[in-house]
């Protein structure tokens, strides 16, 4: 069982700002309650295995030129200048 306060708290951590928390609490609670079934799986002693990739298999950490002019894709042109949002209020 999840309380409304817990959901409110988690929502904030997830940077979600919903008007009606109550509306979300009911369904989120139904979903999380269903996960209780995991308690009967009897997997407490199970090891967690994760796929591993050795560093030698990673691509080289080097700069790859992007041959497209991304700056032309910006939206707010004023003549040859690009308008950016104000950084302080």
């Amino acid at each position: 069982m999840v309380t409304e306060e817990e959901i409110e708290h988690v929502s904030k951590l997830m940077r979600i700002d919903v008007d009606d928390h109550k509306k979300y609490v009911e369904k989120v609670n139904m979903m999380i309650s269903y996960f209780d079934i995991l308690d009967s799986a009897g997997v407490d002693s199970e090891e967690i295995t994760m796929p591993e990739t050795s560093i030698s298999n990673l691509r080289k950490d080097e700069y790859i030129a992007y041959d497209d002019k991304l700056i032309e894709k910006l939206n707010h042109y004023k003549g040859t200048y690009v308008r950016a949002p104000k950084m302080s209020s």
Partner: protein, 481 residues
Amino acid sequence: MNLKISALDYIQEVKIGNISAEDFVAKTIERIQSVDDKLHAFLSINDKAVDQAREIDKRIKSGKKIGNCFGMPISIKDNICIKDSKTTCASKMLENFIAPYDATVITKLKQQDAIFVGKVNMDEFAMGLSTEFSAYGPSKNPWNIEYVPGGSSGGSAVSVSAFECIASLGSDTGGSVRNPASFCSTVGYKPTYGLISRYGLISYANSIEQIGPLTRTVKDSAFMLNLISGIDSNDNTTVDNKNEDYLSGIESGIEGKKIGIIKEMIGDGIDPAVLSATKDAIAKLEGLGAICEEISIDMVKYSVAAYYTITATEAGSNLARYDNIRYGYDFPLEGYEFNSYISKARRNFGPEVTRRMIIGGFVPSAGHAGKYFLKALKVKSKLTKEINEAFKKFDFLISPTVPILPFKIGEKIDDPISLFLVDINTVTANLTGKPAISIPFSNSNGLPIGIQLMADSMNDKSLLQAAYALEQTVNLPEVPI
């Protein structure tokens, strides 16, 4: 012009000059314009498609080298990036996002002269299994437009099933290719994890998702896999398949192969029509010389809970980037919120995505991870062991793709638990990284039923052989649209 032909037949017809790419693509676009008001498979249409096809015809006439697709019209799920085209993930959050680059699968298909006729509908950020969670409205099942087409790659399945394209690419995180394929009577293929590059696929749950084709025939899926599989330096999880040819030997048959029938996937809650179709499929495989036996995979009972726990956690992390500063909904300049902790842009997520992000914050959090997230990972480990054990004894595992028939639009939307259980037969392949395919097999009162076959990792080729054998036993009615 017969729009109902398979990819391989299309290529043959263009090669010998019976049809031109331009005519076929133009007719395909006409078809989309005439039926898509009803079906809503497409979110955007490529208005240059016919011109692109004309260019391919010119190159064919002048004897230049042509890619293997010969201008074949393909639809693409709207979470796969095509350069300079909208990629919305069926979300308001990305309603104006123009992808600045091609996904690897798109680069490969462009090299083979495929034509992308449009981007197709899906559940928002691929979270769902009915396409009802699209921010732009649901797609409709062409077999009966009051019913859901399945999801999340619903638009892909509808567009192939209703002859609005020859093939489509979807993505499969917990059944999102196979489920709509089953509901719309198309073939849907989820490859071994790592077989197809995910570069340019907008991430939902990276550790288990794969791009996969939806096609009219098993051979067409093998053909598509030939074109888009293989190692990619832009996706470190890809595996080297040594340029395997999945089409060669596809007619080898399944004599002497051992097939395990997963008991937990034909148990409680299965629709009687689906059960009887499954039994029929098993009988047909036995008729072809396969040996079928029941097997119990105990962890299947917990797989859906583990699946949702793991995917919500990964989604919570993946979707953190849509904050109006780095990615996501673009406010006018005056509306930027550098100082706010929570951007109002995040209100552009729909209700299902919002719910899953809340869950994704909750289940791995301090104090709850032991009960939920870590336990889910343990179930995943044990399930993988059980499945690996099963593949020591069996070549393939069989089940219905979905235990129930397609349901009516709106019927289950307020009942998340009954929606969870629709995934029960498909999530195992994702959690264990195994390849799986849905083959159209039967039809109950006008609603399609698909059969799922699963194989061990990197046995995609033999899986397609088995699927082809089963497909040859089937004679299905034509879609009534």
